[in-house]
């Protein structure tokens, strides 16, 4: 197991290095003057030149790249051109909001899609199955920005059930300000006992989380259905039925056990995918996460910040996949990690 993890970690470093080189070259090929942006609108030519030296932009590109790699190794991901803060600090500020959204979405997706997948497999060809399959296809195929707009229109504008956008009601900024500890608003409100803020942050989370959840929910429901139908005719299942085990337990306990493996793999993949997918959702729901930070970084040609976001996403992908491999091995005795 240790050898496997070490090998995967080494591969992950190679993948991340490739991603960095590619992003670095592309980001530097885009015309723009980060030094002028850094120095500000009133800067003189001398101040811009000084900024260029400070940012190391006067050095050849390979030297800049080597210096960037050395910085990463020592925990220095560079300084953002548009915020003037260390990129790691910016990521630590923005990432919790995105992670909170994606985690909430995945909780909703798993909680909804696994039972629906089982129901669909239990009564194949019935109206419920057709409805669930149609819903799953809709969830997977519907453009996320369109769904976000429709949800806003229906749940906020027409039904007035949920707030339109933002992290919490603006009035709470003054009446019940949130003390930040983890960066996860719902968690922070909960641990500080800030109940009005808890209600507001949770309600603001629901709509964007539902939108982000649509794709993983559709995917997982279809996977569960297919996996369960694949194994429903196998001998161990027939044996369980012959022993008189209730049908609900056969599905929930014996068939689902085999379905968990691909589902776990799918969760890992959609976690990374959703983290990127959430960028659009964040923009529509005015959610101050990585998406907003990435958009501002691209708009200001902020190379260190663009690299930081890309590297962060790459790392999340790699770690999620590694965790799934380990979990799969733990769940399925047929899998050996070598």
């Amino acid at each position: 197991m240790t050898v496997y993890i070490a090998r995967r970690a080494a591969l992950a470093v190679l993948v991340a290095a490739g991603v960095i080189i590619l992003t670095f070259v592309i980001a530097h090929a885009v015309p723009g003057d980060p030094a002028a942006t850094w120095a500000g609108p009133h800067a003189t030519a001398a101040q811009i030149a000084q900024a260029r030296r400070f940012l190391g932009l006067n050095r050849p590109l390979p030297v800049q790249l080597a210096s960037y790699f050395a910085g990463i190794a020592s925990g220095n991901w560079g300084v953002s051109i548009h915020t003037h803060q260390p990129v790691l600090y910016d990521l630590a500020t923005a990432a919790p909001a995105s992670l909170e959204l994606v985690i909430a979405a995945l909780i909703i997706a798993v909680a909804v899609s696994v039972p629906l997948g089982l129901v669909s497999a239990r009564w194949p060809g019935r109206p419920a199955d057709h409805a669930i399959r149609a819903g799953a296809i809709l969830g997977v195929s519907m453009p996320i920005f369109w769904m976000a707009l429709i949800f806003q229109l229906v749940f906020s504008q027409r039904l007035h059930l949920l707030p339109v956008a933002g992290e919490y009601a603006p009035g709470l900024l003054f009446s019940n300000p949130l003390a930040r500890h983890t960066g996860f608003d719902v968690v922070d409100a909960l641990i500080t006992g800030n109940w009005p803020m808890l209600g507001s942050t949770a309600s603001h989370l629901v709509l964007p989380a539902l939108v982000v959840a649509a794709y993983p929910a559709g995917l997982i429901a279809r996977m569960v259905r297919a996996q369960v139908l694949d194994t429903v005719g196998e001998t161990h299942v027939q044996m369980a039925r012959a022993l008189g085990i209730p049908e609900r337990a056969v599905f929930g306990r014996y068939l689902m056990k085999l379905a968990w493996n691909p589902v776990a793999a799918a969760i890992a993949l959609v976690f990374g995918y959703s983290l990127v997918n959430t960028f659009l959702v964040e923009s529509i729901f005015d959610w101050p996460g990585l998406g907003s930070y990435a958009a501002a970084s691209i708009g200001t040609l902020d190379t260190p910040a663009i690299l930081g976001v890309t590297l962060f996403i790459a790392i999340v992908y790699v770690i999620a996949n590694l965790i799934v491999d380990i979990v799969q091995a733990a769940l399925d005795p047929r899998i050996r990690l070598r």
């Binding site: 002028a36 609108p41 707030p163 603006p170 003054f174 629901v206």
Partner: protein, 531 residues
């Protein structure tokens, strides 16, 4: 224990939904919450404070927030077309126009607690002039300032100038406490950020890069007092998506939306609780054509190659045709100038002469516009399409405003865009700002981002303000002649004049469009109706 995971998930989901139900609001709750709200929320598509917090040098969208914190000696009134008292209660000028005396309001406090006196106002104007940033040129005619009494301010001028009008400028005319930082650097102190104005609101917090970017609170010692109905807090909320802005407005979560696409704006007509305001502005959209990289025939061909009518039609009421550089309603506006219109044949002819155009070499150009501005996006798309017919390949890039500005001002000419799209509006109710900022030669580019230099025009620009002060009709004629020159030389494509399309909550009264202060809402003048 059976399936603890599923149980936990179910509990989690139930808890989330329960909390959501608690936090969600019924229409009645929304209405009630909004009715008692004392917070005015200004929805903007991009951050407002991009050019620092120094009232002497800020020269960008900061005006939107700063106009609630800082005040000027006079303020332009669009109803009377004259300047009205603000920090000055009255003023007179000498018959020769070479000196002006302002009587200042008594009992005005800076947000630092100090009393505003004539010597404090003198110090502020002198600092602004010394720093020479932003629109400091509005004090360009001033030779010396004296404070013969605690509330009497006397300006001695180098040449006659309409100082009462210039003192109403939206930039660099603010009166602020120059002693706010004590012995430290005032610039650093202001950019920390702090404010040192006399306005009705003072800075509470600045959350750079965040959704709730600027929060201002009422200044209790404001000279105008707080009796009657007023908002006690002003929030500037950055909402990049205009569809979200529209939804936030409908649900009462923002009070005022600065810009949305014309289609979306029209769709709000008749929406309950929403008021739409449309008004001609003194703001225009310009395409500055890089005169260092583009020859005269190229600039003229581009000017003929833009489908102005198509742009105006696409913007559905948000744009009106321009004539020259000066919008209607200002001195120097003429509807009979030799303006460009869409003429592909003429453009082709001009391009063919220099080896470009259809069937010849392609002309590859770059254009930048401000990220998030839906109107500029429409214009850029239509320009790309109409210029493509002339074999001009326009590479369009949307960038954050500070980045596209930085790119245009870069020391390296290779970084400069060929077409720089930006809005311009006057610094006070006068056309001078367009000429002095966009067309006068600059060694180091600041806003003359077509890098245009014409010594003859420079001389005319230097002369025009004093001419207007002494012989208005001669000044008017000079503005005409300068615009004819500019149209012939084509350093700028005049795309259209803005027609403001504001959407706002019907929960307050007192909003008035003031073209001299573009996109500014003077929150103190608003009356919340629910309180």
């Amino acid at each position: 224990m059976k399936r603890p995971g599923a149980l936990l998930l179910a509990c989690g989901s139930a808890l989330t939904l329960a909390l959501a139900a608690c936090g969600g609001a019924s229409p009645q709750q929304h209405a009630a919450a909004h009715a008692v709200s004392q917070t005015f929320t200004y929805d903007t598509f991009a951050p407002v404070m991009v050019d620092g917090w120094d009232p002497a040098t800020e020269y960008s969208d900061g005006i939107i927030a700063m106009s609630n914190m800082y005040e000027t000696l006079t303020r332009y009134d669009p109803a009377t077309h004259q300047v009205e008292p603000l920090l000055a209660t009255s003023w007179t000028s000498a018959p020769n126009g070479l000196s002006w005396t302002f009587q200042l309001r008594h009992g005005v406090h800076f947000h630092t607690g100090r009393l505003m006196t004539a010597s404090a106002a003198k110090a502020a104007i002198e600092r602004t002039t010394k720093l020479n940033g932003g629109a400091a040129y509005v004090w360009g005619a001033v030779k010396t300032i004296a404070a013969p009494g605690p509330y009497t301010l006397v300006f001695h001028l180098k040449y006659p100038s309409p100082l009462d009008l210039e003192a109403s400028a939206d930039y660099s005319a603010y009166i602020y406490d120059t002693k706010a930082a004590g012995r430290g650097s005032l610039t650093k102190w202001l950019n920390s950020p702090h404010d040192a104005g006399t306005g009705p609101y003072t800075l509470q917090t600045w959350n750079k890069g965040q959704e709730f970017e600027v929060i201002q609170k009422a200044f209790p010692q404001y000279w105008g007092g707080w009796s009657g109905s007023h908002f006690n807090r002003v929030v500037f909320r950055v909402v990049p998506q205009d569809t979200t802005s529209a939804q936030l407005l409908r649900s009462g979560q923002v009070s005022f939306v600065e810009q949305m696409s014309p289609t979306l704006w029209s769709s709000l007509r008749g929406a309950p609780g929403v008021r739409l305001v449309s008004a001609a502005s003194w703001q225009n959209l310009l395409g500055q054509l890089n005169s260092k990289t583009l020859s005269l025939p190229e600039r003229q061909a581009i000017s003929y190659g833009i489908n102005y009518k198509g742009i105006i039609a696409a913007l559905q009421g948000a744009a009106i045709p321009s004539s020259g550089i000066v919008p209607a309603g200002l001195l120097g506006h003429f509807s009979t100038l030799p303006n460009y219109s869409y003429d592909p044949a003429r453009a082709t002819q001009l391009l063919n002469r220099i080896g470009y155009g259809p069937g010849k070499k392609p002309l590859n150009l770059s254009l930048t516009y401000t990220q998030g501005d839906t109107n500029e996006q429409v214009v850029a798309t239509l320009m790309k399409s109409s210029l493509a017919k002339l074999n001009i390949n326009l590479s369009v890039q949307s960038l954050a405003w500070p980045t596209q500005w930085g790119k245009a001002k870069s020391a390296s000419a290779a970084q400069h865009q060929d077409i720089f799209m930006e809005y311009w509006w006057p610094d006070y109710a006068d056309p001078y700002s367009w000429f002095v900022n966009l067309l006068q030669s600059e060694k180091q580019p600041y806003f003359n981002l077509s890098y245009y230099s014409n010594p003859g025009l420079d001389k005319q620009i230097n002369k025009v303000e004093s001419l207007v002060a002494t012989n208005r009709s001669a000044g008017q004629q000079l503005y005409h002649s300068m615009q004819v020159t500019i149209l012939r030389q084509a350093p700028i494509a005049f795309l259209y004049n803005d027609n403001y399309q504001y959407a706002m909550s019907a929960d307050f009264a007192g909003f008035q469009v003031n073209q001299a202060y573009p996109n500014v809402v003077f929150a103190y003048d608003l009356k919340p109706l629910g309180s």
